[in-house]
Structures are given as C-alpha cells and as structure tokens.
C-alpha cells in the first residue's frame, strides 16, 4: 500500500512567520500535487510537480519535489490569515491519486 505521510498534522502560527510542511513516502510517484481545502468545500489544486528536484513558486508559496520523487515540501513565507486551511499532498501512480491526511494550518492575525 502506498502511503503519503504529512507533517505536522496541525500548525498554528502568527501572521508574518515562515513555515514548512512536509509530505513523505517510501514510494516513487510520477507526479505530486498540493491542494488547499477550506471548510465545507472540496480541495483545490495549488500546484503539480513532476521532475525530481523541481521547485515551483506561487507568490509566497514555494513547492519542492524531492530528487527521488518520493517526498515534497511546501514553504510559506510571511504567512497571512488567508493562508489558513487544510493542505493536502497527493501522489499520482498509474491511474490512482493517493492523498496524505493533510496539514491543518491556522494563521493568527
């Protein structure tokens, strides 16, 4: 069974601080996605990383795919209250998409 472990499970920090969340697996994925989910809504795709070592930036969010394509990180610079939400990583393997349990992020104003 392929598993994606996300850490930390919960994170509550002050506005303006930086943070990193992690997504780790023992399996290799052809691509890895990060989603953000707000209460009562479905997850929304933020980014897809495909190549080992790839780094993608989305404003204050930086996503990195591990060289071996087994892990990924999401770094947020100067967190804002609008960043609050559940962040999910997901790995694509064949036709399946497997999700981690998520990191619940709360940014305090």
């Amino acid at each position: 069974t392929q598993l994606l472990e996300q850490s930390p499970q919960f994170l509550s920090i002050q506005e303006g601080e930086n943070l990193t969340v992690y997504c780790n697996s023992s399996s290799v994925f052809s691509s890895l996605q990060w989603y953000r989910q707000e209460p009562g809504e479905g997850p929304v795709l933020l980014v897809t990383v495909v190549t080992g070592g790839e780094v993608k930036k989305l404003k204050r969010l930086t996503f990195q795919f591990g060289d071996a394509r087994k892990d990924s990180s999401l770094h947020i610079t100067a967190a804002q209250p609008g960043d609050t939400g559940l962040y999910l990583c997901a790995g694509a393997s064949h036709d399946k998409i497997i999700f981690g349990k998520g990191t619940r992020l709360h940014i305090l104003p």
């Binding site: 997850p43 795709l45 349990k101 998520g102």
Partner: protein, 114 residues
C-alpha cells in the same frame, strides 16, 4: 473552467435507506473518483473508474457500489445506509496524463445517516 458538480451539498438519510450520490464533470475526463473524508483519517478512496462501465475498488469499498453508464457521470450508491457512513463525500475527476495527473474536485456532499 473545469467543473465537477455533486448533486447535493447536504443530505440526511435514515439507517437502511438506499442512497445515491451523483457526480457530473464537464471536462471529458476519463478518470473519476469517490472519496470520503473524515477527521483524522484524511481522504480515503472508495471506488474509481477509468472508463465508462469500468470500476475499480479503492481502499474502503465495503458497503458501497458505483455506476458509470456515461463518461461524464459517476454515481456512488450506499445499498443500505448505516450511521458509520456519515461523512463528507468528495467526487473528483482527472484526465489520463501519465506524468501530470491532477484531480478536480466537486464541492462535496455532507451525508448524515440517522
């Protein structure tokens, strides 16, 4: 914009009822998925389908069945609803891009079984 639409946002059903959750996507995607999401357990795959009339069991198929008669529609069926099936149900679809599979989600159906 890709649109995945689930028929209901909220449902309340009685134990033993047969429940249908409907999902429609308008992007001509081959793959469709049903997940349930529970606190502390994350998103768990119930069933998925990679083509019309094709279905594959996910990680937790017990108590559920699915139907995919048309490419755009994927239905989840609870044959006899039980209280432990109270959950948030999420439908998703994706195209068949081997290197770049991205899932597009519906808004979710929060099902309560009483």
């Amino acid at each position: 914009d890709v649109k995945v639409t689930q028929s209901s946002r909220y449902l309340v059903k009685r134990t033993g009822e047969k429940v249908f959750l409907e999902c429609v996507q308008d992007m001509d995607h081959e793959n469709m998925f049903w997940y349930r999401q529970d606190p502390g357990l994350g998103l768990r795959l119930i069933y998925f389908s990679y083509d019309v009339k094709m279905k594959e069991k996910g990680d937790i198929p017990e108590g559920y069945s699915v139907s995919r008669e048309k490419k755009e529609r994927f239905s989840l069926i609870l044959e006899s609803a039980s209280t432990n099936q109270t959950s948030m149900y999420l439908c998703a679809s994706s195209a068949v891009w081997i290197m770049n599979t991205e899932a597009f989600f519906g808004q979710g159906t929060r099902l309560t079984v009483v």
